[in-house]
């Protein structure tokens, strides 16, 4: 208990002192996670949207496959991407291993099934009358899709936020593909793992606090936004 309280107190002091190393780690984490979330959103939302709205043979199987992919451990994704981008891999010559780009690639693969699955659920749950209404009012296919996306915006937004929450908190991909290089690919979670290994809890606890604050702030903003639109 004393360990935790001491750690917490020192962590607060560290945050307050604007320690440059600490904030650089936070910056790298945010940058990488935001990039992965945006990319996964750009790919996953339209994909989920298309799957939800179209009827094709094997649709249920496709959804099941994406659901299964939700359970893939981060280390498996790390390993998979590693085989492609390591020196001997297919994309070895591109020198991606142990860069922020490598982390982004791994994280996009990690959360893409999540974004797709949650988008399918969000759009699938939406009242089918919206589509019919847009069509009967003379909208084109594209305009109709826009209406549906607009009506499902909170659920789709929630999907993207959930995906961000997943990547900012993951360790496996960042560690295996980023390599936890100080001042370059060290993220909040890899730094916490390292500090724990070293038995240094202060930085780990400080990063943990910041991580929680980021998640909390994101959710507060999302709820405020949702509330403002609805009332």
């Amino acid at each position: 208990m004393t360990l935790l309280l001491d750690g917490l107190f020192s962590a607060l002091l560290l945050i307050k002192s604007w320690d440059p190393e600490l904030w650089f780690i936070v910056w790298v984490s945010l940058k990488v996670s935001l990039a992965s979330t945006v990319l996964a959103g750009l790919l996953g939302v339209p994909a989920g949207f298309l799957i939800a709205l179209s009827e094709f043979p094997g649709k249920r199987m496709t959804v099941t496959v994406f659901n299964t992919l939700l359970a893939v451990p981060t280390v498996v994704i790390g390993l998979l991407v590693y085989t492609f981008i390591s020196r001997r891999g297919l994309f070895g010559p591109w020198d991606l291993l142990y860069t922020q780009k490598a982390i982004v690639i791994g994280q996009v693969l990690l959360i893409l099934p999540l974004v797709i699955t949650l988008t399918i659920a969000a759009i699938g749950r939406l009242d089918h009358r919206y589509r019919q209404t847009a069509l009967t009012l003379g909208a084109s296919a594209l305009q109709t899709s826009w209406v549906i996306l607009r009506e499902g915006r909170f659920a789709v937004g929630a999907a993207v936020i959930a995906a961000f929450g997943r990547v900012i908190a993951e360790v496996g991909v960042s560690m295996m593909l980023g390599g936890n290089i100080k001042g370059f690919t060290r993220t909040m979670t890899t730094a916490m793992a390292l500090e724990y290994d070293k038995g240094e809890f202060v930085l780990a606890v400080a990063l943990g606090l910041i991580l929680l604050t980021i998640s909390f702030t994101m959710n507060v903003f999302f709820n405020l936004f949702q509330g403002r639109i609805r009332t």
Binding site: Q132, T133, T136, L137, G138, S140, E151, I229
Partner: protein
């Protein structure tokens, strides 16, 4: 012709919900599509709105065949608007809802506020433009949905049970709006209802649907029974008690429709009803302009329609005993 349907059918999960051999609708009229729940009214309306293709058969719009797989569908949809039974409004303001059709038709931004205001005025919701659409009551939602549809300046407006989900006050308003748009805009209006009285009040022409098929008569007097023969004469036995004469070739269970225009009714007075007649009490009388609707309880609720002049010569009153003579030609097997 506005619409012409030929051998149109639609099946859901193996059940035929629509089976229309031939149906023609003229432009510029108010049509009431009448039938009980599950008669296929909504499906027919969705097909007429080009929102759902039929499984087979052909549909002609203004004498041209409609190709449901074609790109011309959007152009056709821009002439016909469907207002659903319980319409959904987009999660935004009333203004943006009504503006939607104008936006997708690329109506210049400058002229939109005037049109939106005019449409809201037409449905009695002037000054509601900035209200949040999802905070409206059922009746208000229905009226905004009508304003949104009318803003598209359609040639045809399809209304699916326009008053089914609104209270009596809004019902009267919605009916007034329907009459108003017919007289001021000359639109063709096709609405569905399961309420005969409303249909008679509003519609210029009625189409009766039963089990997906247009029927000649009314759907009200529909009964299940068993066809049998007495001395070579066919009858349909309903609820094991009522024998209705009919023309039939086979025995067995059947659904029959008793045409309310062909039932003869007379006040029974003190005398007994003849053997061939059914006796009952007059439960309800409704004046529908040229005709009077009489609901008689003979153990079965039977609707009888008589001409107003005929009614005046032999008036009935509620609670009075009446004798019904049902000729064989009034009973039709469905």
């Amino acid at each position: 012709m506005l619409f012409e349907l030929k051998n149109l059918s639609k099946t859901y999960q193996g059940r035929a919900v629509l089976d229309v051999e031939q149906l023609s609708l003229e432009p510029g009229k108010i049509y009431g599509l009448v039938g009980p729940n599950g008669a296929g009214k909504t499906t027919l309306l969705e097909i007429l709105g080009f929102l759902r293709p039929p499984d087979s058969g052909r549909i002609f719009y203004r004498d041209r065949p409609v190709d449901f797989s074609g790109r011309s569908l959007r152009r056709l949809r821009q002439e016909i608007v469907l207002v659903q039974q319980s319409p959904v409004l987009f999660t935004t303001t009333v203004y943006k809802n009504v503006e939607f059709g104008l936006k997708v038709r690329r109506v210049p931004k400058k002229s939109r506020p005037r049109i939106v205001e005019e449409m809201l005025d037409l449905v009695g919701l002037r000054g509601w433009a900035s209200a949040a659409a999802h905070h409206l009551s059922g009746g208000e939602t229905q009226r905004v949905a009508m304003a949104r549809a009318l803003a598209c300046t359609p040639q045809v407006i399809l209304l699916d049970e326009p008053t089914a989900n609104v209270d009596a006050e809004h019902q009267a308003v919605v009916e007034d709006i329907i009459r108003e748009i017919k007289s001021s805009k000359g639109l063709s209006i096709i609405f569905t209802t399961h309420n005969m009285v409303q249909a008679a009040r509003l519609a210029e022409e009625m189409v009766f649907l039963y089990d997906g098929r247009p029927t000649a008569g009314l759907y009200e007097n529909v009964f299940s029974g068993v066809i049998g023969f007495d001395d070579g004469k066919a009858h349909c036995l309903i609820q094991g008690r009522f024998k209705l004469p009919l023309v039939a070739a086979k025995t067995g269970p059947a659904k029959v429709l008793v045409n309310p225009r062909l039932i003869k009714i007379r006040p029974q007075g003190s005398g007994e009803a003849a053997a061939s007649e059914l006796a009952g009490l007059v439960r309800q009388l409704t004046w529908e302009g040229a005709q009077v609707r009489v609901l008689v309880d003979v153990g079965l609720p039977l609707t009888v329609l008589i001409g107003f002049e005929e009614y005046q010569s032999r008036p009935l009153s509620v609670g009075q005993k009446a004798a019904l003579d049902i000729p064989a030609e009034a009973v039709e097997i469905i």
